[in-house]
């Protein structure tokens, strides 16, 4: 079978998800399960709150930022925290707090749409391949194998290299590389879903393919999709900040955490907070996604009842 050409896919999620178990039909509704895990698992709840906080900061950036993130005050450069500048200033005298706040906006503003885009593309390609089978399936599986034969970061890096460094190239690169993983999972889900009795029943009643997909299969796989999306958001934030750090993503002077870290490298000795604070923002936002994603996954995984 062509899909067996490769050993396990590069573990993009921190533990290899077992596709079939992930999509086993549970008796409980995924939403109720999610609610239950949030009540029981304080770490997951903390992740949700933290993530929510970042989203609020991103949306309300113009209201809460004390300064224009691009405004240069050369006479106040490289200052520590003060009443005037709550978190100090960078090498051009720009207010660090405002830049971090707007950095949330550029990071989440590109990471969230990318995550959704990835999911949708993976969903369309994966379900189509799984549903149609035949040569379409073989082409998709072949492409997925090739894409998974290369480490994600390396592929995105080279893709940005060929497209020329910019935010647009970065997002194209992340989507072009990342869809393979999702398509693989959704394909497996579709193959599994074709065997479900209530799907067979719906077909016997004469429901159209589209209706079966939308009304019967999708609601049952939405839980795993949410888990995937949450964990993936963390990875994409890491990827965007990594490539921006290398100067291959979001371009200065637009504030972005990874790019800010890169700027601050030179001033490590005089102003370590310029490195520490953006680093902390990346850590917290990714951690929030991982905490929430792990908690939700544990709730959906019937094997981990002990948690």
């Amino acid at each position: 079978m062509p899909s067996r050409v490769l050993p396990a896919a590069p573990a993009s999620t921190t533990e290899t998800l077992q596709d079939e178990e992930l999509f086993a039909v549970g008796e409980h509704s995924p939403w109720r399960a999610a609610l239950r895990v949030l009540q029981a698992d304080r770490a997951a709840l903390a992740g949700l709150i933290l993530l929510g906080l970042f989203v609020v900061i991103a949306i309300a950036a113009p209201l809460i930022a004390p300064y224009d993130p691009l405004a240069i005050h050369l006479s106040d450069k490289l200052q520590g925290p003060s009443a005037r500048y709550p978190l100090g200033t960078d090498q051009l005298g720009r207010d660090l707090a405002s830049r971090l706040i707007y950095g949330t906006r550029s990071t989440l503003g590109s990471a969230i749409p990318t995550t959704i885009g990835l999911l949708l593309i993976g969903l369309v390609i994966g379900t189509t391949a799984g549903y149609l089978g035949g040569w379409v399936d073989r082409v998709v599986v072949g492409s997925v194998d090739v894409l998974l034969a290369l480490p994600r970061l390396i592929l995105s890096l080279t893709l940005v290299g060929f497209l020329g460094p910019s935010l647009q190239s970065l997002l194209i690169a992340i989507i072009a590389v990342g869809w393979a993983d999702h398509a693989r999972i959704f394909r497996a889900a579709t193959l599994a879903a074709r065997e479900w009795e209530f799907v067979l029943a719906a077909r016997a009643l004469g429901a159209s393919d589209l209706r079966i997909m939308a009304r019967h299969i999708l609601p049952n796989v939405i839980g795993p999709i949410v888990v995937l999306a949450t964990l993936d958001l963390g990875h994409i934030i890491l990827m965007i900040s990594s490539l921006s750090f290398l100067g291959l993503g979001i371009q200065p002077p637009t504030p972005e955490w990874g790019a800010m870290l890169n700027d601050a490298r030179t001033y490590l000795e005089q102003a370590p907070h310029l490195v520490l604070l953006p680093g902390l923002c990346i850590l917290l936002s990714v951690l929030a996604c991982n905490l929430l994603g792990d908690g939700l996954r544990a709730a959906l995984d019937p094997r981990s009842r002990h948690r």
Partner: protein, 347 residues
Amino acid sequence: MVRYTLSRLLALVPVLLGVSLLAFLLANLAPGDPAELALSQGDQEPTAAEIEAKREELGLNVPLGCETLAGSVKRFRFFSDQLEDLCSISVRYVRWLGDVTRGDLGLTYTDSVPVLSELARRIPATVQLAAAALFLALVLGVSIGTVTAVYRGTLLDESGRVLALLCASLPSFAVALILIYAFAVILRLLPVAGYGDGDLRHLILPAISLSVFTMGTLVRLTHASVLEVMGQDYIRTAYAKGLNKLAVVLKHALRNALLPVVTVAGTQFGQLLGGAAIVETIFAWPGVGKLVVESIYARDYPIIQGFVLLAGLTFVLVNLATDLLYAVIDPRIRLGAGAQGRGDDHA
């Protein structure tokens, strides 16, 4: 075993062909004329004649047969143009692939040196760094994962879980900068950057920075795997025959629990190659990763192309090696026809 190895090797061919096609298409569909890019590395604008000569040299012009082929369907104008392009790019791909299999990856745009020798010159440093990082990650990851699983539910377990989560959430470049600040700037114990010509002190900080993410992954994996094994009947048997905890964990649990760790360690090697691009850039480590990042800035396509091929080949071979190793250490795995359903891809 030989038959299994051969069939696995054969199965790599389509994947590697796909990787080569990807590398070829990327460079050829990328914006900009390669001939112009190759020539415009200096200060002078290349003349039209120079570009034409370079196009000929790089084999970018439409091969003769293609014009004839397209000419034969001249009546369908649109179709004829498409056919010419398709024919041209296929012929060029086949030619390029022929060169590649003979080890000719072309010349770099910047210095006009062979791409293969340029990559080969940089490989040892990257291998050194990635191997050191993988070693660190394995030693720390497996021991922390095992200890936290054995002392499940204690404070030790909780701190292990937090540590693993932190490791999976920290970008390598932030770790690198914090380490540089602590150990090189404040404590002045270790060098800030550079290769240091074999001075191993230069290797410490880059290797730690690169290993953090992989270590977090391995902690979680080992933890889960040991927990699962500890619940098995043979562990109870081992306890029942009077073995102490240490002997049970080391002799019975760990040997079985480490099997999935071997597989993931193999795939993590690919992650390390990607991470190396960032870590090498920060520490001015003269490896392949730094070369690629520099080539991206310089739009030196042949190097990037060579790197994609190299990374794909390495990754696929490392995965194959882990699989074979897996088959060797786990006698339960049947080779040959029975070697399916190995928990790879549940497709």
